[in-house]
Symmetry: C2
Subunit: 201 residues, 2 copies
Amino acid sequence: MRMGRPREFDAETALDQAMEVFWRHGYEGATIAQLTEAMGINPPSLYACFGNKEGLLKAALDRYTKLRGVWMDEVVAAPTARDVAERMLMGIADKQTDPANPPGCLLVQGGIACGSGSENVPFELAARRAQNEDQLRDRFIRAKAEGDLKESSDPAALARYVSAVSVGMGVMASSGADREALRQVATVAVQAVEAQSVDKT
Amino acid sequence: MRMGRPREFDAETALDQAMEVFWRHGYEGATIAQLTEAMGINPPSLYACFGNKEGLLKAALDRYTKLRGVWMDEVVAAPTARDVAERMLMGIADKQTDPANPPGCLLVQGGIACGSGSENVPFELAARRAQNEDQLRDRFIRAKAEGDLKESSDPAALARYVSAVSVGMGVMASSGADREALRQVATVAVQAVEAQSVDKT
DNA sequence: CCACATCTGTAGTGAACACTACATATCTGG
DNA sequence: CCAGATATGTAGTGTTCACTACAGATGTGG
């Protein structure tokens, strides 16, 4: 099997740069010119490697969720449902205001509404957000089985709730909310999970 | 003063149609062709009346917040902070899944991230969301003064929290969540406000 | 009825967009 | 060293975008 000329750029490093552009400008707002400049390559290299703009987005999302998945595993490893929610929301407050990244969450900033021809982009992002929600739901189901959450609690509703707060915090972060403001939101939000928990006194 | 030829379309009716296009496709995803077709006019009429695309968006946002403001007044008229939160979030669950409108909230769907040249669009939307948050905060300050909310509570944080949940619910609605799912989120979310309220037993 | 002002429809404008043809460069297998 | 295969840089491609020039239509004031 012939190999041909090897590519001169690192795909993952380039993806990190592309991720940041999508994160900051959204899928439709990001132009190929911006992407190629950030990635340090020319359009033909981009298309040879990722197919098209949407393929590049999906590759960037894969990388994002992969990195984020490691953190999510730590989140659901917390001992109680309340601690899971706290670790999740407090972590999000910090991550979404980390100056190393654009503010907010790529799974939201990427594109909530899109024009004709990109209708599946919001769908794609929603599917990735749903993965996190599923992970939370499974964790809360376990918490209920362990007697950590009340019998009257609804693990799926709780997971949806935490997921909704996360998304809301992301939007607030992208529009300028600082870390302290997001932490306050997280602190309040955790109390709803606490209300569904069995007292430990 | 000369009057000239009168316009042949109703500006508010046209704005309602434009609002729906922005709502469904976002600012960048909406094209002038889609907007003019929905409004039933030709481009020159649009530009003569609203200046440019961004001017049309602002006019649509003005109309949206005006209509929404009436409802917000009813929300903050609820007797307690807890009831304000419940009325707000339950109402949002219903409104954002009303088949008469596109799903979600225009102030979010309009555009969270935009490309170069439209950077102020997300800012504009954020400013309108902040108005609602301010209204909630003022109501919660009153609730605290009335002894409805605990002395330890933070009205500004509570308002941010309810605002964040609202936004999160909007994003979920736009990606297919049904009314029942959103109501469950609202039900859980209200419990955090309850936890900040003085017991009425 | 005329001068003027404003609106409307047709038909475009230049610019920016995602994407690619093509020639050249750099690798592997033999 | 050669043949085939893949990557790269230059320089475009056609399309779509927001926006507008212009001419004709429709109103008001004198």
